[in-house]
Symmetry: D2
Subunit: 349 residues, 4 copies
């Protein structure tokens, strides 16, 4: 940590900072400049952060050096994390395709999507029973009945499934149906939910908040990891910017940055980031090329009649050629498509 003193700071102001740091068991190195003095703090940064230095007289600013997260930082593990999901591994050696309906609307729609996803080569299915909607007047999901359909999707295809949990009270229930429990963008800083999920032993997918910095996103992952669950898959899904042509701006740079900062895997959601069907394929290919560990894609047998986010869903027919093309790109960057699981035993058994 570095403390920058104001040009008007007195010798006493400086001495007071040094004393406080030393009292906290740290060392303070003072660099006196022509205009201002800088104090380098050496020791336990967390402890320094809790000290009231920013408000002390003569202090201009305090800069934290290093990362505020620990467990999810790359330095904390020698090897990147591989999250085992059924027979599939989500991690840096291969590229994983997750596909399925945004919302589970009817058994027919969900099963058609699940079969198409499997036939196209997807490794994991998606499908939500609980939907987070800005408007209280919009479709909110089938709840428990949706989870039952999800179970059927899983059983028939033999593929693992990911689904969103919205409320702390549903964590246990959702975790009993899902291979991966997903935290949505709006809940990225719902710390109670993060802790609750951290206590399950299910793999977690953590979407980046709409306007979260990469550091805040990793801090949210830290909340989960602190509870003992480090099977976390990060999911970049676009950030809010001034550009109106896409629903969000896919921050493709987040993928290599996360790989440098953390040992966790990171995937891309090209459907929710753009909100436009015609952008899904190019963005999915970009994700494969940039080194993402996978993608998650909305499909729908009849996007024109979807109850939720229809304009961004691919048709079930569009998925297979896209998976093939992603496979070629992933191969070109030395990270081949994962192998599809031949089957799957029942959840939690």
């Amino acid at each position: 940590m570095v403390v920058v003193m104001s040009p008007k700071a007195s010798e006493e102001d400086i001495a007071r900072v040094v004393e406080m740091v030393e009292d906290a068991g740290g060392d303070a190195f003072v660099s006196r400049g022509k205009h201002r003095t800088i104090i380098g703090l050496v020791g336990d940064t967390e402890r320094f952060m809790a000290l009231p230095i920013p408000g002390m007289p003569g202090v201009e600013s305090v800069m934290r050096i290093g990362k505020p997260y620990k467990l999810v930082a790359r330095e904390s593990r020698p090897e990147p994390t591989e999250v085992q999901v059924g027979d599939v591994v989500v991690g840096r050696d291969s590229f994983v395709v997750i596909a399925g309906p945004c919302a589970i609307e009817t058994e027919e729609q969900a099963m058609a999507s699940a079969r198409a996803a499997k036939a196209a080569g997807a490794h994991i299915l998606r499908g939500d029973a609980y939907k987070h909607r800005t408007s209280p007047y919009a479709f909110q999901g089938l709840a428990k009945h949706g989870l039952e359909i999800l179970k059927e999707m899983r059983l028939e295809t033999g593929l693992p499934v990911v689904t969103e949990v919205l409320h702390t009270t549903d964590v246990e229930l959702v975790a009993s149906y899902a291979d991966i429990v997903r935290v949505g963008a709006r809940n990225m800083q719902n710390f109670q939910l993060l802790r609750e999920i951290g206590r399950t032993r299910r793999p977690v997918m953590l979407k980046r908040g709409l306007s979260a910095t990469i550091e805040e996103w990793l801090m949210a992952a830290e909340y989960i990891a602190q509870q003992g669950n480090e099977d976390i898959i990060l999911c970049e899904r676009g950030i809010r910017t001034y550009e109106p042509m896409t629903r969000n701006t896919l921050d493709i740079s987040a993928v290599p940055l996360v790989h440098r900062l953390s040992h966790l895997p990171v995937i891309v959601d090209p459907s929710h980031s753009s909100g436009r069907r015609e952008l899904v394929a190019p963005l999915a290919l970009a994700a494969a090329a940039v080194g993402a560990d996978g993608v998650m894609i909305d499909i729908h047998p009849h996007p024109e009649s979807a109850l939720c986010d229809g304009p961004q869903a691919l048709t079930t027919e569009e998925l297979a050629p896209l998976v093939a093309e992603m496979g070629r790109v992933a191969q070109a960057v030395g990270k081949p498509l994962a192998r599809q699981s031949p089957g799957l035993s029942a959840v939690g058994q």
Copy 2:
């Protein structure tokens, strides 16, 4: 609602949209242009929004005309809402000052702040027992013990109190201590929490999310109002932008916009929006001049040793002259400072 057809839309594409609208009980007016055709929809907009028009062949875009919220819209009430809090009214006829510590840290710190706030002329006290922190390693509040101190602040000063609730499971408890229950920026779209709070009959303060549009903010208020609680005070607290010099950018324009769009009162939090003590006074004065219905200000007897957000707290001595200056500005725009309550009966009695 307006449906814009693509230049390549066929007559059948147009007919299909018209038919769907008419089947839903609406009227469709077709305007055929040189380049493209526009269809005006007349009838029940909510019903139209649920139709799968955006994905239909030949449809380029669908534009919603009018507001997606109803209960909190200005049109739904002849008069602006006045939220009664103890003896104080938060509404458009006067300017209300809320002050107190960001977090309740110790009884001594909290009581000193409460006394100073009362002496300075504040109408409502603030003080949080539960803190939402980006880092799991930061101070998270005194919880129940903090609420007990809050009770004491209330009893000794006779002023009503506002405090934040973080989790759905705490709503009942917090509401039993607080005159106003606050929803923080990170929880603005925690719809489960909004519904839970909507079911209490306590006045609610709803902070704007970090990157929420004004429309999304009003939609969040709609979630509360839908449960039968329209005693909602909106609180503008800055939005995330690219400018690094302030923690957030206070969107001062939001105040007159909310007054035009909704019947709800809206206040400003100059402390959390800027994150810098030296900006609190000018921003509070701007809030008074722009027509806000009040401000909420962090104070601390010893900001330099605050456990949370110290750099933005005013000292207890700085508050009184600021209240006086806000009073002069509020008077100048025809909206005088509210009268301070002489006393207060116990909560819920």
Copy 3:
């Protein structure tokens, strides 16, 4: 300046940085931490900035401490700058009102606006002969003919005038008509134009760029000051954010920040920041309360037929009551309305 070494930096890496700093005539103070080493640089920061330190082996990041601008920094002058414009002083002791048409469209429209502005108590007139338009198909201004009308506005009212210059080739011409030459938001980093204007001895108004940080804005002012012209009035006019309800988001916090960072005066443009007529009055009042040194307001005798930015112009009748209200607010914060000039001698004499 502070150099943060990576945790993996070797002793040689550190020694190489120290040597380079010392070769450049500076001192380097090394603080060795448990995880990483920090080097504080003392000496000529500009010289250090030109050194290739950021790319050296073992260097993680370089943080500049202190301001990159000098001439416009508050530290460079004991007293705030007062810009003399005709008989009016723009500075921290009073509040100045600039008003007039956005674009000069016809002699009749311009003269009606000028007379109304004077009658309402404005101190300076605005009116543009050159317009910067996003679309090549939009009205681009009356050019030389517009400047002639501007001259007439000035002569008849006796008030000084401010007008925008778009191109370097027009600087001399525009400066011969204007009391204040304005640089628009899109030209804030047109450094050739800034230098050219810096060479005139006319006061300059420098609008903040659409997405400029406050630091970049002050750096742009530095380009002008470097040419010997420090009669610079900064103008906050809103920044680009994700919020769609206003054309731009007025960054009201920029006013007190600029006053702390620089000795230059700063005014607010509530018309261009919001783009909405109904927000002009509340935002102008907020500007007066926050301590701005003035406002610039678009007026039009017939806003509904304006060729440019009509939706944001006040009618000429709306101005007088607003000036009176701003006067009361300015008084309340101890910064009264400036006195209107009784008359004015011809430009350049």
Copy 4:
């Protein structure tokens, strides 16, 4: 165009809009809804845009349907534009690599970069003689002497060159040395410069402004095209967002969007968008996969001693393997690397 009337609009208000549209030679279709009336305008949109409808009584808002640009719109040409640069074609059939130093600093540095770029398989060289710097105290380029070195780079390698022009007064000079004249991000809305460049017959590269929408970017291209020059290559280089980890946020979605909206080619600059060397390769690969028509990459023989943007330059050795990898990705998405030109005749001959 669609005019949305306010719920309180009178019949006369509606009639007045209809009359104005008809007087302008258009047709107005009125759709009367329960709450509000919508008027669809059919005819010459440009003419309608110049009408003062937004300020008329009873008008709530005016929505433009369709694109405000014409010449650069996809609809204006049956085939995508191919820009011929020496022997190389920049367009949708192949992927082009532009590489070279950000700034030309010395003959040695520039020639070493040029040779390395050619050896690595680059098709076009970059190198700037004029630099646009936020600080007036930073290196501003070698000017004319830099252009002479550029000429040498071109002659020795036989590759065409792209270089930036900053000022209108330099357009002719720069165009006499360059195969492609580049407009930088800060000049994207310097319309005088755009017009001047549009009058040359040199291919132009137009970088996206730091906070320009895609529509504004295409409008800027329209300024150039209006002068008769449609040999325009768009260059996405990142937009300003709240995320501090990258200098800008690469808006990768802009590539497929531009391809849908316009017939112009679009490339990506991974160096300036990220500002971080370690992100250049992954972002360049993402650009190849997303369908960009090329990339532009900074290289430097000694990035650690670069006078400008050193932290983002690849070493000359890093380029060749990256070009090979981009070639594989480009192949995978059916858009192979362009063939490198065997030689080149002198400029302008």
